[in-house]
């Protein structure tokens, strides 16, 4: 029998599938729903210092019948003080809760990460990659040096594992990943959404309230797999032993396996819930398990990064 469990965020996860930040996780009750449907861990909505209403509607929509989602939510969140309630509720699900936070600098991030640690989070994820909010997210996360400074500040402020969530909207995602890990991150999460825009020709206007947004869902899978592959390749070259969490466009076990074989130790699932609901966690977990039984893999680790060794 194949063993799906992985050990990367402190407590062991029964499977490598996490709920991705920002999809059905602003409230504790919704995170519990994902746990009930089989998520091995949940990542919270990205939370900042103050309550934030986010951008004006339209904030998200589907494009091309299941192809993807374009969103510019604008990081709505109740603020870190009010968020304790949600983390506490999520924790009753009995799986690790990873607190996602966003801020402007090392000081903001350290404070927020400390709060998440106090609330009981097993790890923190630093949102250095949201493409549609001013002065935060990828505005600061596209520069390897700045990422290093922030990660280093947070790593010395908390004792739980720190993960840096990266943007694909750069030419050098592996440089940023390396910088994060050298500054003390346990690992990286790749990828956040791709910058995008949809215009309605009839009105001559971009449809999103914020005009610019982030593309997610099935359409971005190849970009995510490529990003994880490049990061793993660099980690191997530099002999760095760090965790990679793959995210972006995963809808099936087949998709999840691509990320694992590119180098991901665990995975996050987001947009696909638009089409398959939270039941997709169970579906993907059993699909991976069937594949492993069929192909003779006994642990997830046995498959991690095997595409790296394939002959060119």
């Amino acid at each position: 029998m194949s063993d799906l469990s992985v050990n990367i965020v402190g407590p062991r996860m029964k499977n490598p599938l996490m709920l991705a930040s920002g999809i059905l996780d602003e409230t504790g009750e919704s995170m519990l729903m994902a746990v009930k449907k089989g998520a091995g861990a949940v990542v919270t909505k990205s939370v900042g210092l103050e309550a934030n209403e986010g951008h004006r509607n339209p904030t998200a929509f589907e494009i091309g019948d299941g192809l993807g989602l374009l969103n510019a939510m604008g990081l709505p969140n109740p603020g870190i003080n009010d968020y304790e309630r949600e983390v506490k509720i999520a924790l009753t699900g009995g799986v690790p809760v990873i607190g996602s936070v966003f801020g402007r600098d090392g000081k903001d991030f350290s404070y927020l990460a400390g709060k998440m640690e106090d609330y009981g989070a097993s790890a923190v994820e630093l949102n250095l990659s949201c493409p549609h909010a001013k002065g935060v997210g990828m505005d600061i996360g596209a520069d390897p040096e700045e990422v290093g400074i922030i990660v280093s500040a947070v790593s010395s402020a908390v004792s739980i594992p720190v993960f840096a969530k990266l943007t694909p909207n750069v030419p050098n995602i592996a440089d940023i990943a390396l910088s994060a890990v050298k500054a003390g991150a346990e690992g990286v999460v790749a990828i956040n959404t791709l910058k995008g825009m949809i215009i309605s020709p009839e009105t001559g206007l971009p449809v999103l309230g914020n005009r610019l947004g982030g593309l997610s869902g099935p359409a971005i899978l190849p970009v995510g797999v490529r990003s994880v592959f490049e990061i793993k390749q660099r980690f191997m070259k530099e002999e760095v032993n760090a965790v990679i969490i793959g995210v972006g466009g995963i809808s099936s076990a087949h998709d999840a396996l691509q990320y694992i074989m590119a180098g991901a130790d665990a995975l996050q699932i987001g947009s696909v819930m638009r089409w398959k609901g939270a039941a997709v966690f169970g579906e993907i977990a059993s699909g991976i398990s069937d594949f492993m039984d069929r192909e003779g893999y006994s642990t997830i680790k046995d498959m991690v990064g095997i595409a790296q060794e394939a002959k060119k």
Binding site: D25, E26, T27, R56, P58, F61, G64, I198, S200, T203
Partner: protein
């Protein structure tokens, strides 16, 4: 929409007809070819301004649709002042509609909730069910959809200017005392819907309600309209008594645009 037709965020439609319903409520008619069902909603884009959830208030086989908008703020005001020929964007239909079960049905509505409930009332009547529609309003001037062909309508007003003088829930209880019903369907202010849930469960009558929460994506990903682990946009807006009885925030609390818990 298929990829081959191009990728769009919303379907642009032209308003074909504007019908004033009350002093603050207007119906906008347009054509949108879809498989809309009773109780579903659209996300309606006012280009360049905002996008808001609106129940589908008429569903015709030829694709004619309407939304019925009450002027309560910036976006709804813009919709209420639109003219035939102007454009809006339509996403949807979204959500789970009414189950349309029951033979002797009491529908209880108030305010803009009538926009959704009226379609259920018409559909029950069309398939020959015994329907009684209770409409609550503040005054006679606020009464929405007061006269409907083939449907028994009972009215209540807070000031007694039309029909029963008092709460629509008291009117509904009076009707329940006089006759047997096997289904209660409600859409309107949440306090009213909560009261009707209590009444229905005390009398062991099946019940469903169409809820409102602040909505953003409309497609079940962003969690803005969360209630008790469900999303109103996808799990609802129509929920059965069995679920609502287990959600302690129903009739008590909601979330603001930042996701903070606030009292209703």
């Amino acid at each position: 929409m298929k990829h081959s037709e191009g990728l769009k965020g919303t379907d642009i439609v032209e308003i074909e007809k504007v019908q004033r319903e009350t002093h603050d409520t207007v119906s906008l008619y347009f054509t949108h070819h879809d498989d809309a069902k009773t109780g579903q909603f659209y996300m309606v884009w006012i280009p360049g301004l905002d996008e808001v959830p609106m129940s589908i208030s008429a569903i015709e086989e030829d694709g004619r649709r309407s939304v019925t908008v009450k002027d309560v703020g910036e976006a709804t005001h813009a919709l209420c002042t639109m003219k035939a020929g102007e454009q809006i964007g339509i996403r949807g239909p979204f959500g789970k509609g009414y189950t349309l079960v029951g033979k002797r049905v009491l529908l209880v509505g108030g305010g803009s909730g009538m926009a959704s409930l009226i379609v259920a009332a018409r559909e029950y009547a069309r398939v020959g069910k015994d329907v009684t529609l209770c409409i609550g309003a503040r005054t006679k001037e606020d009464l929405l959809f007061g006269e409907q062909a083939g449907i028994k309508v009972e009215v209540s007003t807070d000031d007694g200017s039309a029909g029963f003088h008092g709460f629509v829930t008291d009117l509904a209880e009076r009707l329940l005392n006089e006759d047997d019903y096997d289904m209660i369907v409600t859409c309107g202010p949440e306090i009213m819907m909560k009261k009707m849930l209590d009444i229905a469960s005390a009398r062991e009558i099946k019940y469903e309600a169409s809820l409102e929460r602040l909505m953003k994506c409309g497609i079940g990903v962003c969690d803005a309209c969360a209630i008790g682990g469900y999303r109103v946009c996808k799990g609802g807006p129509v929920f059965p008594d069995t679920i609502l009885l287990k959600i302690d925030e129903f009739g008590e609390r909601r979330r603001d645009a930042a996701g903070r818990v606030v009292k209703l």
